[in-house]
Amino acid sequence: MKEEPPDFISRQEPRDLIHVPPEFAVAEGAVRVLDEDEYVAGSSLWKDARRRLLKNKLAVFGLIVVVLITFISLLGPPIIKAATGFTYDSIPRDVTLIKSIPPFRSADGSFSWAHPMGTDNSGRDLLARVLLGGRISLMVGIISTLVSLIIGVGYGAVAGYLGGRVDNWMMRLVDVLYSLPYIILVIVLLAVFRSSTAVGQLVLLFIALGSVSWLTMARIVRGQVLSLKNQEFVVAARATGVSTTRIIFRHVVPNTLGPVIVYATLTIPQVMLSEAFLSFLGFGVQPPLASWGSLAAEGIQNIAIFPWQLIFPGVTMALTLFSLNFLGDGLRDALDPQMRT
């Protein structure tokens, strides 16, 4: 006959069982032998990871800031447009306004709410431009990381699963590519293929950045796949006649997800930094579009007289990268405690 579990172990909320804080566990005293079919909730990798992540204050801070900045960048421009009528490239008609106005000032120097970050040299609202820069910088970060994710995971999984000579040659190629001065090649690529439209240059940027940042991802995935491919579930799949492609992408790749997510999170700020670097040099995002890097580049030219043109995009960008890095570090510690470097 089944015994009813004691009421503090309710079947409805099994998670209470595992997360007993240590001080209470000790207070209970004896180690109780479980009844034969008593239900104990296992703690999945993801649940454990979430708990560890939420305990890490810096990572939570990072997560909050990243989410906030994303939302403000997405929702801010329409709100500004509704409230004041400014968009990122609305140049004032009144010629006396075509100059850089300090934060919270109007053209005659009196206090005003119109431009909380001031305006740029053409009188465009800097807040609207920084928010547009946020959209574009985040978009470049995410899309280029996705491009690198697809290439890296595919390449690494195939190399690791096939093994042997194929693996050897594929990884030899990665080693060679590793030693190349990417960013230098990216600059050549962006300079010579320079697109005449701002959007074209943006697409070029996605491709260029994505296609140079997949190498580490490929190495990580390959390592994971090597350790997975001889486990029972893969052998079982092979024994039942599942095709190699299907084994790689349906059985092996999903199990490498933890490290892949961690590394992807750490790739986003790196890619954003590269984008800013390229835009700063004038190879990346082109006007009238703006990214934090291109705004900073404009700001530097007038640093002595209009410092706000550099400070606002620069600080926003630094805060975002700072948060993303902490989030990535926290995720790494939470998902894969052994991967610390």
Binding site: S179, V188, A191, F277, F280, L281, A296, I303, L310, M317
Partner: protein, 307 residues
């Protein structure tokens, strides 16, 4: 060991050719030529230019013409923009500027990074630890093109202590701000690597042995822990050099220095093909040789590694 070095050198040579070919291919695949960047010119002159630079020949002839002098005498030809100047002269003139800033920055980063990283590891979870790691994270997150101008704002435009830009010679005040700007990122990386490496080593058995022998803490740290704990820093030297190159591009741009990076940017914008290829090849060779040196140093420093 010798076999390892020879094998690596043998891989290096084809790699450099892959790089050069890739660069050449990129430049040639792109629409237009270096002279189309200028204003439009009459057809006859265009034909003459094509004739002079062999642009009307099939691509493999052009490729052969571009590669042969490089293979024969490592001769990259003359710059197209700076007429009559051999690429090698331009590199020889601008390299010392970049190298000085880069090496000084790396040295500063090593000294400060290792110091702060070790302190953080020895006093793990103390205020020192948190403070240095937060500063390190800031160093990684703030782009150097923001740090540089901020330093200029403070030290040149407000305090009038240091010159805001321009090259003032190899031993002058004008070096200070570029070196500081460039070293921030490496300092941060090195501090993090040192801390991680030291934390791992300090927990190991042989450190406990050294302590239980009654060695002074200073000897334990400096003679036993640091040597193994700094291995990650040694292997970072290779990637650091690559970072250094991209870093100098920005720093030279901010401070208007006549270094390799500035010439490279100009060459890319002008589609100055021989100069681009020359600089890319030079950078690739330096990187590959540095990586090889780092691997050798690694094997020498860590007796557990055998190739």
């Amino acid at each position: 060991m010798l076999r390892f070095i020879i094998r690596r050198l043998l891989i290096t040579i084809p790699t450099i050719f892959v790089v050069i070919t890739l660069t050449w291919g990129l430049i040639r695949l792109a629409p237009g030529n270096f002279y189309t960047a200028e204003r439009s010119i009459p057809k006859a002159i265009r034909e003459n230019i094509k004739e002079k630079y062999g642009l009307n020949k099939p691509w493999y002839v052009q490729y052969g013409k571009a590669m042969w002098p490089i293979v024969r005498h490592l001769d990259f030809g003359n710059s197209l923009k700076y007429q009559g100047q051999p690429v090698s002269n331009i590199i020889a003139r601008s390299l010392p500027v970049s190298a000085t800033i880069g090496l000084l920055a790396y040295l500063l980063a090593l000294i400060l990074g290792i110091t702060f990283g070790s302190i953080a590891a020895l006093k793990q979870n103390s205020a020192w630890d948190y403070a240095s790691m937060a500063v390190a994270m800031l160093g990684i997150s703030i782009p150097n093109f923001v740090v540089g101008p901020l330093l200029v704002m403070v030290f040149s435009l407000s305090l009038y202590w240091l010159p805001p830009a321009r090259w003032g010679g190899f031993w002058s005040k004008s070096l200070i701000l570029p070196v500081l700007t460039l070293s921030g990122l490496y300092m941060a990386y090195i501090a993090r690597l040192t801390r991680a490496g030291m934390l791992e080593v300090l927990r190991s058995d042989y450190i406990r042995t050294a302590r239980s022998k009654g060695l002074r803490e200073r000897d334990v740290v400096i003679r036993h822990a640091l040597r193994a704990g700094l291995m990650p820093v040694v292997s970072f030297t290779g990637p650091a050099l690559a970072f250094l190159l991209t870093g100098t591009v920005v720093v030279e741009r901010i401070f208007a220095l006549p270094g390799l990076g500035n010439y490279f940017i100009q060459a890319s914008l002008n589609r100055d093909e021989p100069l681009i290829i020359g600089i890319v090849a030079f950078i690739a060779i330096t990187l590959l040789l540095m990586n090889l040196l780092v691997d050798i140093a690694y094997a020498y420093l860590d007796p557990r590694i055998r190739y």
